[in-house]
Subunit: 296 residues, 2 copies
């Protein structure tokens, strides 16, 4: 199957599942369901769940078995965006071209919608651990990997460094540390969870960690480049906001040309690490290229 068709099919299945997860019941708390769905069902790129499915397919053909786990990852990603946008954090009024959650529903609901999505992510994963055909120990190991990556030692820690330590970042190594937590951690656990659910051995898991580390940093550098070179329509948010906010980015330590070369090099490293999987890795290879040839 051609990559684009493969990707479209995966995104379609993820969207289908996401739409069933939060039922908008007509009870006194109904605004919480509405606000959770507002952010969850807004057509993001679904990269993390697609990565999980793509990795799983290195090992097994029935990716539909693990879609709830993939959706759990998307819920964690979505909750982090809602909380990032809050006034006490980045104070962003727009996300993906429309009002951010707290601008649409108020700050209290924004906080609780984020909480609700994080909670629902684990609820969904635990339910899938009980009901899917995946062996339960593998399911719990995958969920544990996801939980470690999204917590204080991972994504939340990266958010703290971004908020409080940003001014102190004085080297590209420090910046990469922050990126490895803030965006890298859950990209990596998406890949690792797919591998664990698929039954990867230690060697395969290590190779996939290398893949994930490299696409994670390439993805983030590409984001920094896009903030300068893309357009507001394509990005769904203001461009040049990093410069306007005096934010340290990869471009603070490098030219655009050099940064583009680095993206290529990290992408090449990622692809090289997949050699052992032969032709089964073709979609993950294309995914690595796709991630870093975006215009949004």
């Amino acid at each position: 199957m051609e990559f684009k068709n493969w990707m479209d099919e995966k995104v379609l299945k993820i969207e289908e599942c996401l739409r069933t997860i939060i039922k908008e019941e007509k009870n006194p708390q109904k605004v919480i369901y509405e606000s959770m769905n507002y952010s969850l069902l807004c057509g993001g790129k679904r990269l993390r769940p697609v990565l999980m499915l793509g990795t799983y397919e290195l090992f097994k053909d029935n990716a539909e078995e693990i879609i709830p786990f993939a959706c759990a990852m998307e819920m964690i990603h979505t909750y982090s965006l809602i909380h990032d946008d809050l006034p006490a954090m980045d104070n962003d009024d727009y996300r993906r071209g429309r009002l951010s959650n707290h601008k649409k529903f108020g700050e209290a609901t924004g906080i609780l919608a984020g909480d609700g999505l994080l909670n629902r992510a684990f609820e969904t994963g635990l339910e899938a651990a009980l009901k899917s055909k995946v062996e339960i120990t593998s399911a719990v190991k995958a969920l544990y990997e996801i939980a470690k990556s999204s917590g204080a030692d991972g994504m939340i820690g990266g958010q703290i460094v971004d908020i409080y330590g940003h001014d102190k970042i004085s080297s590209v190594e420090e910046l990469k540390y922050m990126y490895s937590l803030k965006t890298g951690a859950i990209i990596k656990s998406s890949v690792k969870a797919g591998a664990i659910l698929g039954g990867a051995d230690e060697n395969q898991l290590r190779a996939l960690e290398t893949y994930a580390d490299n696409i994670g940093i390439a993805f983030q550098i590409e984001d920094d480049i896009l903030d300068v070179t893309s357009t507001q329509e394509k990005l769904g948010k203001k461009i040049g906001s990093d410069i306007a906010n005096d934010k340290v980015t990869y471009l603070s330590f490098s030219t655009i040309e050099k940064s583009r070369k680095d993206v290529e090099q990290f992408t090449d490293e990622a692809i090289k690490s997949l050699e052992m999987f032969g032709d089964r890795a073709k979609h993950l290879i294309e995914l690595a290229k796709y991630l870093t040839n975006r215009d949004h």
Copy 2:
């Protein structure tokens, strides 16, 4: 063992475990660990984890096996208090007699410390599912029960009703609905998780649900009474705040005397539902009485 000794011993073991859960590593995000521990290790009553351990002991003697699950519940309770206190929610500067998390660490860290504790709750529970001697399917079922109770269909939903629907509460039934979600849901899942981990059958589970429903509402009415009759020292927060904030409470529909009688009646119902467990239920019986004979 006398109830007080039993309770003290359980709280001690819970505190011991809680202290090991968040290591204050000296990395760039260290403030997140500090802020999470600030709220987690402040000597709350630990009622929810004690309830879980007490219920488990109806079935098994090795309660130390499930302490990480009990601590996960305490982390969920703690995160909910941190987010409740935020300016966009109840805007409380004090909690348990000292500065609330966001007043101490700033609002962004308060939000993230809450997120981190919710996340760490599941991390801790999933790790225990893999490493403890509890049968893994029971562990996952217990965690799933916890997750359902703390999300949008449970505690978070109750918080939404409290914030947005409070003015519309015009009957004691509507108030009880809000209480059953906001505080009742995780009290109930503490009991249910203990029962599931202990291997309860359907009949036993139903009896314990009745116990939990009744102590949950009794506990909440007692809280409403204490807000009027306790002192600031004992309560660790301002008394009379419900009246000052024009909040609908149980006392909006009832006198103090009638409310006290209702507390007694719910407590009696709770105790009655434990009959089938005979002498093994003695600590849960005392716990029901203790919950509703507090002065704080």
